[in-house]
Every structure is written in C-alpha cells, then in structure tokens.
Symmetry: C2
C-alpha cells in the first residue's frame, strides 16, 4: 500500500474564541485540530494537506468598535481592514503549527454566514473531508444558538466529521467557546 496517491485534503473551519476574542481560536476548533493531528494525520505529515477556512460574520451596524457620533467613512474602512487582519492572525495559530510539523497547508478568510460559506467553499474546493469543531450543546441550547456543525453534516458535499470539545474544557456557560 504505497502512498503514491495525492494527499488527503482536509478542510477545517476555524473560528475565534467567544471568551478571549481575536486572535485566539475557540476551544472547540482547537480541540478538533488537536484531535485531527493526533488521530488522523499521526506521523504521516506527507499524506495530508490541510485547508483552513475562517468565516467572519459581517458586523451589520458596525457600531461596536466605532464611536457612533464621530465615525467617518474612513473609520469604517479602517475597521474593515482591522477585522481582516484579525482573521489572518487567527489563521496564523494553525498555519504555524502545521509548518512546525511539516504539514502542507493553506488558509483563507471569507465573509458571510459561517454555515453557508463553509458549504459553499466545500463545493468550490472539493476537499476529501471536512472537520468541524462542536460545542456539544444539548437540544435546548441548540434551539437558540443553532449549530454550524449540524448544518454542515447535512449539507456539505463531502464526508464531515464533528469533534466535540472535551467535557473538562467546556466553560461555565456551554454557549461560550
């Protein structure tokens, strides 16, 4: 069984921590990344090609970060630019680890509704596998939060694996990440 075939292309959707903010990755996407390295890639760095996607939700009103009274068009412009840079810093966390381990990777950001953008990018990039982290919410919490992972399992056009964060890593409020 020679590994002459093309590497397995694994796409991974990553997001920022809701507790610590940019550039820190969420607990569940870190758990998914660590699991994938330990259990799938293992020592076979050449056999895998990782594709990291970070979807940024556009800030509808944009007033969180800007003084709403004195904001000028330039302020909004520079805010957008800053968001993009934050997204790239988040991706750095994963890209740096891959470089250290000798695993080839690519990383990019997109804007939009995460679940829809992820499925759209799967269609475009055609990975062999999509890995998504999950907070492992119960049915009651899911109703109000919605879960990206469930949507992807149903709609992404490739096999999907959902990795829950470990119980001892869950914050006090399970909706945090």
């Amino acid at each position: 069984m020679a590994d002459s075939s093309a590497p397995t292309r694994v796409m991974m959707a990553v997001n920022e921590s809701s507790l610590r903010g940019y550039p820190h990755p969420s607990i569940s996407c870190r758990a998914a990344f660590d699991w994938m390295l330990a259990k799938l890639v293992r020592s076979n760095a050449d056999g895998f090609h990782l594709l990291f996607l970070h979807v940024q939700v556009p800030d509808e009103d944009g007033f969180d970060d800007v003084d709403s009274i004195y904001a000028s068009p330039t302020d909004f412009q520079s805010m957008k630019q800053r968001d993009k840079i934050r997204g790239i810093h988040l991706l750095e966390y994963f890209v740096n680890q891959c470089h250290q381990l000798g695993i080839k990777c690519e990383a990019w950001t997109k804007q939009g509704d995460p679940k829809e953008v992820i499925c759209h990018e799967v269609k475009r990039v055609q990975p062999d596998l999509l890995v998504v982290g999950s907070r492992g919410l119960g049915p009651f919490q899911r109703v109000f939060v919605g879960t990206v992972s469930e949507f992807c399992v149903k709609h992404a056009e490739c096999p999907v694996i959902t990795i829950k964060r470990k119980a001892n890593e869950a914050p006090r409020d399970p909706i945090d990440d």
Copy 2:
C-alpha cells in the same frame, strides 16, 4: 512527530447488501471502507486498528427461512446458527482485506437494533472514531426508512464520520443497498 502513540482505533459498522444478501456487504459500507483505507489509513497501516461490528436484526417471527407448517424447535435453532455463520462470512470480507494490507483488526457480531447496539458498543469499546456508511437518502425517503447514521452522529460517544456511497453506485431504488 513520531508515531509512538497507540494506534487510532476506528470502529466500523458493516451490514449485508439488501440486494444480494449474505455474505455480500452493502454498497454503502463497502464505499465507507474503501474511503477510509484510501483517505485516512493511506500507507500508515501500523497507525490504525480497525474494529468491525455487524449487528444482526433478530427475525421476529422467523418464518422467512423456514417452512411454517413443518418447522420444529430444532429448525429454529439451526436457523439461528446459520444466521450467525452468515454474519461471520460478511465480516470475512473486511478482515481478509485488512490482513492483506497488514492492518490489525478485530470483528464481531451482535444482535439487536443496529443504531442502539452500535452506540452501546461505542460506549463499551471506546474507539477514537466511528465510521458509518450512508445511503444518502433525501428527507422524504428518510422519514420512512430512518437512518442509522443520523442516530449515531447524534448519540455515539465519539467522533463520527458518515460516508455516502457514490452517486454512480446507487441502485435504481435508493432504499436498496
């Protein structure tokens, strides 16, 4: 990144073909097996340990295989024995391929409701990953058939990956397998 850690234990639920019967595996579990070898195990045979589970649904009345007028208790006994042997022949398909590829594996049969037995066995055996094949039915077909894979994604206590059979391998009636 040395592979000194214990091998990744992948559990795989396999079933017989609804079209060809025992000992032939279903189209979707063959697709899942081939995908796993090509995309996850690759050349790293030592890094994986495969666990094959075949769940047999008990035949409630048992009259399919037995002449209902002349059946004796011994007939039923030998029928049960034959079912067990059929299950083992199904598992042989996977075990033989693993042996040829030098991948360590185990295989066993259980009786009961497949989705519940699979989740129970995950709890007992604690694999790193559960792989299940799926017919990829639409929502309308799913209502009447129910899908083992959806139940496992929700309830199995380990990461689960669902592999759909290829479109060109689907039989005329998608419920067949």
